[in-house]
Amino acid sequence: MVEWLARLGRAGLSFFQRLGRGHLFLLQILAGLPGLLLRPRLVIQQLYSIGVLSLLIIVVSGLFVGMVLGLQGYNTLVDFGAAQSLGVVVALSLVRELGPVVAALLYGGRAGSALAAEIGLMKATEQLSGMEMMAVDPIDRVIAPRFLAGAIAMPLLAAIFSAVGVWGGYFVGVGLLGVDEGAFWSQMQAHVDLYDDVLNGVIKSTVFGFVATWIAVFEGYDAVPTSEGVSRATTRTVVHTALAVLGLDFVLTALMFGNH
């Protein structure tokens, strides 16, 4: 019993220690961001490997999610004779929810895990320690550019996901199932609000990008410097990102759309 309590206490302590380390780490990253203004090349390189290289999975997934939305939405709406509203259903689902959330989950799996593994391996092979001894702060040189690039790339990826998804819904709804093209677009135009829907979606994806990238770089930097430790850090990145994104999505949705 005492043994069990002690183990619970130790687990609790180590959890809060990690939480504290994570927040101090975030402060150090934020302090390193202004220095990047002088060296935009570092950020651009990371934008390529984090953002551009994630494009394929984002575009393909967005297309299929949009097509499924078109199909399911049509089947439901046609019973009520409201197939004209298919554009609204597809666009609102994507812009408000599926765009930011699914893009963030994919981002965690594709870019977040890669970030954690890369940084963890740099730590395991003493590259970070070597930089410190060369008087180059690895947080400024390695972590901050990756963090900033991730935080910029994620909202853009979510926007691309939504745009491609809308096109997928259009392809199925208008192209295959015969919904009126004019109605599809004009209904969407009339019912999707720039501030209430699009801007809130952008805020969501920005928050997700911030949190997902923070988790990834912290897990990598805090990894136990062995192959086992790096593998655990990578797994934890994906799991924690998914949990954080879904949890935050509920909170943000409640704040944004709660009193409608």
Binding site: M122, T125, E126, Q127, S129, G130, M131, E132, M133, M134, A135, V136, D137, R141
Partner: protein, 272 residues
């Protein structure tokens, strides 16, 4: 800082104690590193020799004691001052710690590009000079993954001297090298120290190689300095422990057997 012998000291360690969790790694260690000399820190694996280098470089903090480098107390420095001091220290990691996404040339150029605003043409000259010094000017376009262990360590050495530091710390520079590479590294450490007017700290357990190039040797064991002196003096030491270490005898004060229950009792216990 001046030692008792009247030499000028670059690094002075006093009463250093360091523990990882409940494991004591150093317990009241005093070490003097004179300027311009090669000082070796020796001891069996796991005595915290690498930890000592990290303490000198300010990557770890001791629980007690002071470490003074060039007149500055490493643990009282602020972030910026510590980084300024590190620019004047080079460190050669056992693994080389080369940046795997950069080729040999860019690895050596890395500290120059980070810390200076030299034009690219001058960086090129400097990089080629450093690579020439370690004999790898021809390997400048190779990636770290294509290098052998000995080559990687020489590239790392070229990178460590890129900013013309006042001292270099070598972490196990001879471990895992073939005899030819080992000879090359031994000679490089010796030559660079003389030619560049460096101060070198060599952490190693390779007795022959280290003794051949060092001016002074400290032997560490179980958190304490168990012997120190010039290499010749240590060879004919009175301390049985140091003799066992320097001559590589399998049994002595450090027993061959890890502490265990009585052998016969242990074997018979399985039959019960």
């Amino acid at each position: 800082m001046v030692s008792q012998g009247g030499e000028s000291l670059l690094v002075q360690i006093r009463g250093l104690s360091f523990a990882r969790g409940s494991r004591v790694i150093f317990d009241g260690v005093d070490i003097d590193i004179p300027r311009g000399k090669v000082t070796a820190i020796m001891g069996p694996s796991g005595t915290g020799k690498t930890t000592l280098l990290k303490l000198i470089g300010g990557q770890l903090r001791p629980q007690r004691g002071t470490i003074t480098v060039d007149g500055q107390d490493v643990n009282k420095l602020r972030h910026r001052e510590l980084y300024a001091l590190r620019k004047r220290m080079g460190m050669l990691f056992q693994s080389g710690a080369l940046l795997t996404d950069l080729n040999v040339y860019d690895n050596v150029a890395f500290p120059l590009r980070e810390h200076t605003r030299l034009p690219e043409s001058m960086i090129r000259d400097l990089v080629l000079m450093k690579l020439q010094a370690v004999g790898l000017r021809g390997a400048r376009d190779m990636m770290p993954s294509e290098l052998s262990g000995g080559m990687a360590r020489r590239v790392a050495l070229a990178r460590a001297i890129a900013l013309d530091p006042m001292m270099i710390m070598y972490d196990e520079p001879f471990t895992g090298l073939d005899p030819i590479s080992k000879g090359a590294v031994v000679q490089l450490i010796h030559r660079l120290n003389a030619a560049l007017g460096l101060t070198s700290i060599v952490v190693s357990h390779d007795v022959q190689e280290t003794a051949s190039i060092s001016d002074y040797i400290y032997v560490l064991s179980e958190g304490k300095v168990v012997g120190h002196g010039k290499p010749e003096a240590l060879r004919d030491t009175d301390s049985e422990w140091v003799r066992q270490f320097m001559q590589g005898l399998p049994d002595g004060p450090v027993p061959f057997h890890y502490p265990a229950a009585d052998y016969v009792t242990d074997l018979l216990a399985g039959n019960g």
